[in-house]
Every structure is written in C-alpha cells, then in structure tokens.
C-alpha cells in the first residue's frame, strides 16, 4: 500500500513525532516501499497456524511479591532534564 503525505503525518502524530509536511513528504516514498514489500506476507500459507510471540513459547516467570530494588531516586533524577523537590518537571498541564 502506498501512503501520501497526509497519511504519513497522521502516523507521525500517533507516533508522537513532530513532523512538518516537507519531512512527511520525504518519508512517504520509503514508507510506501516498506508497506509494499511486507505485502509479500499475503502469499504465506498460514491457515490454522498459531501466532508466535516467543521463540521457545516460554511464559513469563513468576517471582515472590517482594521489594527487591533499593531506593535510588536521587541517582535517577540526577540525569533528568528538569526536576524540582524530587519531582520531574514538565510544562503546566492544569490551568
């Protein structure tokens, strides 16, 4: 399937990627080629096949419900773009 600039911008919006029309136009060809390419899957004989999510069909392990991680809030906040009083700062969301 082929995607136009408008469709690319819609996908970019869903992907939370800022993208103007010029950039979207540049992506349209490559994305269309990729979507065309993966359409080869339409020819696969997969009648009755179960989808495979894990190479060994392994399930997630259970573990005891115990606290195992130490409190390293300061280490983690030291690398944040903006923090104050132990909180991560973002632009105001409530007026």
């Amino acid at each position: 399937m082929s995607v136009d600039t408008e469709h690319v911008q819609r996908i970019a919006e869903l992907s939370r990627l800022a993208m103007d029309a010029d950039q979207a136009r540049e992506f349209a060809t490559g994305l269309s080629d990729i979507f065309d390419f993966v359409e080869q899957l339409d020819g696969a004989d997969i009648e009755g096949v179960e989808p495979m999510a894990h190479p060994m069909d392994a399930a997630q392990r259970m573990r005891p419900d115990a606290v195992t991680e130490p409190d390293r809030r300061e280490d983690y906040q030291a690398i944040a773009p903006a923090v104050e009083a132990g909180l991560y700062l973002v632009p105001r969301v409530i007026e």
Binding site: L41, P51, P55, I79
Partner: protein, 484 residues
C-alpha cells in the same frame, strides 16, 4: 603485537608473560593512533581501564583464573555502563550517563575483563551499515571507503583492525553476524534467552540477543562463558545449567551432518562469495563432515515478517523516550504534547523515525490483523522449517551476506535495499536459533563470512566446528594491511 587473539592473551596473562596494564596500554595506544580513520569508538575510558587492569594484575598475582581476567574488551554502546555515557548511537541519549550496569557488563567485569570503551553503532541498532549513528559512520578497516556493516559496526571494525581483542555486539536481525562478515572477524548470536537483556537498550525484545565478537571462534567461546547465564532481572532469560562454550573445541567432524539450505544459494548471491563457500565446504568435507542439501521453503518470507515484527516492538520500546525522565529534551516546550513530539522529532534520526512509524502503523486499529498477526504466524512457519531440518542435520551452513561490503552511501536512499542486506541472517532471529559468522575467504581483498546456524542451545558444538575450520584455515588471523 597484534597477531595474538583474545585466547592467546588469556594464556599469556595467566602465564604472567605480560601484565594486564601492559596489554591495556598496548591497545589504548592503538586506538589513539589508528581509530581516527575508523570512528569505531565513541567513548574511550582510558583512565578506568588502567585501574581495572591494575585490579586484574592483582588478581592474577594471586593465581586467580576468571575467564577474561586482564583481557581488554570494548562494549557496544547499547549496553548500559554505570557512570559512562550510554548513547546507543542516538542524539536522544547523547546526554545519558547510565546510573547502572547492564548484566553483560557486570558479568564481564566480574570475569576480569578490562573495558577500554564503548563502540559506535547504528542508532538504536537500526541499520546494516553503521551509517545511521549520531556520531558519524564507521569505516571498514579493509577499505575505508566501504561500510563495516551494522548495527554492531564499531565493535566489528575495532576487532577487525585489532584495536581491541574482543567486543560485545547485539543481533536483532543480523547485527553481530553481518558486520563480523564485512570486517573479517568471528561473531556469534546465541540462542534467544542465553544472554541477559537487562541494561541492553531494547530494540525488538523478542529478537534482541547479545553476543561476542572477536578474531576466532575460540575467543567467542571464552567471551560467551563470561556473558551468558540466567538473570532474574530479564524476564525472558532462560534457566539453564552453566555450560563451558569451549568444551567442543576438539570436535571430531567425521559424521557431522551439515545442511546447505538451497534457498541461501540461489539468485542474488555474489559469485565470489559462492566460490569461497564452495571451498569452505570442501575443507569441511575433507575433515569428514557429511554435506546435504536441505530446504527452508518459507525463508523468503523472513525479511518481510521481520519488518513487521521488529518495527512493531521498536515502536513500543522506544515510546519510553519522552524527554521527561532522561535523555534529550527540546528547548522551550509549549505544552506536554509539544515536549513529547519535539523531543522525539529532534532526538531521533530518520531511520529510527521510519521504523517507529512502520511499527505504529502495523499495530494501529484496522491494520493489526493484516500485518502484525500475520507476521507472527509466518514467524512460526519459519521456525517450524528449521525444526524439520534439524531432525536430519546437526548444523546449517550458508553465506552470512549476499554481497561484499558496499561503499558508504550506496544504499542510504533506499531502505528496502538496505534491509535485504540481512536476507540470510534474519531467519535465525525469528526462530531464536544460535548462529555465527566466521571469516572464510576473500574476494577482491575484502573478507567473506560463512554462516553457521545451530539447533537451540548448540553453541558449543557450533564453536567447535568453527574452531576446527579455523585450524585448517587462517582467514580469521588476517589483519588488514593498514592496521597490521
């Protein structure tokens, strides 16, 4: 002093023929003199390396024999290293100094390895040429106008040029094996779940697997001994008894059944590479291996299935990069949405954006069944092909890449063309099988890789067969003349 392999250094360090400090200085000096032409390292940690070397020398003096004690190594910049920038080839993580070590880094440190630095890579491991790195492309030591392959291109080029005896890589669709082939070294992707993914920045979690890259198969065995093992911090880590991956080095090849998947030898394979493989097959046959043709009838679907599954998982994994908790944040965000979209729009490069968008699209309402569910079914069909074949043969052999290392820029404008570089490597990832690439010859002065694909958990046998091949040939010992 660059003819020695990692395994040679392990022996010489134990025999106290050289100290870890001397060895560390030797390689740090090579990096300083020679890496300007390659750009294989993004960070060199000289000071801490010498401290680690001194600590290793003290352990060696006490007669300790940890697997990599005193051996210099490099970490692909996808592995988190405490106190050292871990950028994953991206502007998004350029400011990121990791507050913790990846399990692989921790384990190698405990095994006595000395980290010289972090190697360059395609951004978030998305690429087959190492041209998508925020830190600029890496060049192939055999011909600096050509790419080293990707995404572990920095590790491959650094080992190929003998700037370090061994380095880690990660392989989601061929990212250890393809650059190993392009740079004339040996690289191994273990069975999915062998090597912990904790602290290994996630691209496609059901496919990603870390592994060793070094000159020889024996080197890879020593490194894997240090890297592999159960880790409760990775929910997909496999609980297996400890294993010595060098246990099969003395393998007897007589009666070994090697399958040649006919789909890997069809149209599209470079004639020079085909001739190199024919000669390698002759060597193995002479040693007693039994060669059979086999078929993987759905292998042509592996690249299309991969380019649904991998981007889908990537779009989900990379949603964590939001400019709030760590990494790049745009200037003067107007509101929360602007903060997210501009931080991501400015922080990610074109290929990463392309894959996030492919993934978002294939997972979006109305497309999920047509793409994602179908690809997951095809994935099982591909894995079943392997199961069938491994009932009759012990190992599969084929080319690692369809062509020789290409010129920088040759495929940059055409994503699908670039994706087809991994046509022979992707199927093993989809099935979760172990696979490796080893140097098997040269064409026009450029190295050619031979790929072995093993059954689940059969790394030791695969390493043994590769080692036996490397006893008969010296391709793995060759160093590009500019770096000899």
């Amino acid at each position: 002093m660059t003819q020695e392999t990692l395994s040679d250094w392990v022996r010489k360090l134990r025999a106290r023929e050289i100290s870890s400090r001397e060895l560390t200085r030797l390689y740090l000096d090579r990096i300083e003199r020679l890496d300007a032409d390659l750009n294989s390292f993004v960070t060199v940690t000289a000071e801490s390396a010498l401290e680690q070397a001194d600590a290793a020398d003290a352990r060696l003096a006490q007669g300790e024999e940890a697997p990599l004690l005193g051996v210099p190594v490099a970490q692909k910049d996808i592995f988190c290293t405490r106190g050292v920038r871990t950028a994953c080839g991206s502007r998004m993580l350029d400011p990121f100094v990791s507050p913790y070590d990846a399990t692989v880094v921790e384990r190698m440190h405990a095994a006595g390895a000395v980290m010289l630095g972090k190697t360059n890579m395609d951004e978030f491991a998305m690429g087959s040429s190492n041209e998508t790195s925020f830190y600029g492309p890496v060049r192939n030591p055999w011909d600096t106008t050509r790419v080293p392959g990707g995404s572990s291109g920095g590790s491959a080029a650094a080992v190929g040029a003998r700037l370090v005896p061994g380095a880690t890589g990660t392989d989601t669709g061929g990212s250890i094996r393809q650059p190993a082939a392009f740079c004339g070294i040996t690289g191994l992707k273990p069975t999915y779940g062998r090597v912990s993914r904790y602290g290994m920045i996630a691209f496609a979690s059901s496919l990603d697997q870390g592994g060793p890259m070094a000159a020889s198969a024996e080197d890879c065995g020593h490194m894997l001994n240090a890297m592999a093992g159960f880790d409760e911090r990775d929910s997909t880590s496999l609980e297996r008894p400890a294993e010595d991956f060098t246990a099969g080095l003395d393998a007897d090849l007589s009666g070994l059944r090697i399958g040649l998947p006919q789909e890997f030898f069809g149209e599209g394979l470079d004639d020079g590479i085909r001739a190199v493989l024919d000669e390698a097959i002759r060597v193995l046959r002479e040693r007693g291996a039994e060669i059979r043709e086999v078929s993987l009838p759905n292998s042509h679907l592996s690249v299309p299935a991969y380019y649904v599954v991998a981007p889908a998982e990537a779009s989900s994994n990379l949603s964590r990069f939001d400019g709030v908790r760590y990494g790049y944040r745009c200037e003067d965000p107007q509101d929360l949405l602007d903060l997210y979209t501009r931080s991501r729009g400015e922080g990610f490069g074109a290929e990463v954006k392309r894959r996030i968008m492919v993934g978002t699209h294939v997972l979006s309402a109305g497309y999920y069944d047509a793409y994602y569910l179908k690809a997951q079914k095809v994935r099982r069909v591909i894995a079943d092909d392997f199961r069938r074949v491994f009932a009759d043969v012990d190992l599969l052999l084929g080319p690692t890449t369809p062509e020789l290392p290409f010129e920088l820029g040759a495929k940059s404008a055409d994503p699908v063309k670039m994706y087809l570089s991994d046509i022979y490597t992707i199927a093993a990832n989809l099935a979760g099988l172990p696979a490796m690439s080893l140097p098997a010859g040269e064409v026009q002065g450029l190295p050619v890789g031979l790929q072995l694909i093993g059954n689940y958990f059969d790394e030791a046998r695969m390493i043994g067969v590769a080692h036996q091949f490397q006893q008969e040939t010296d391709w793995h010992a060759r160093v590009p003349s500019a770096f000899a």
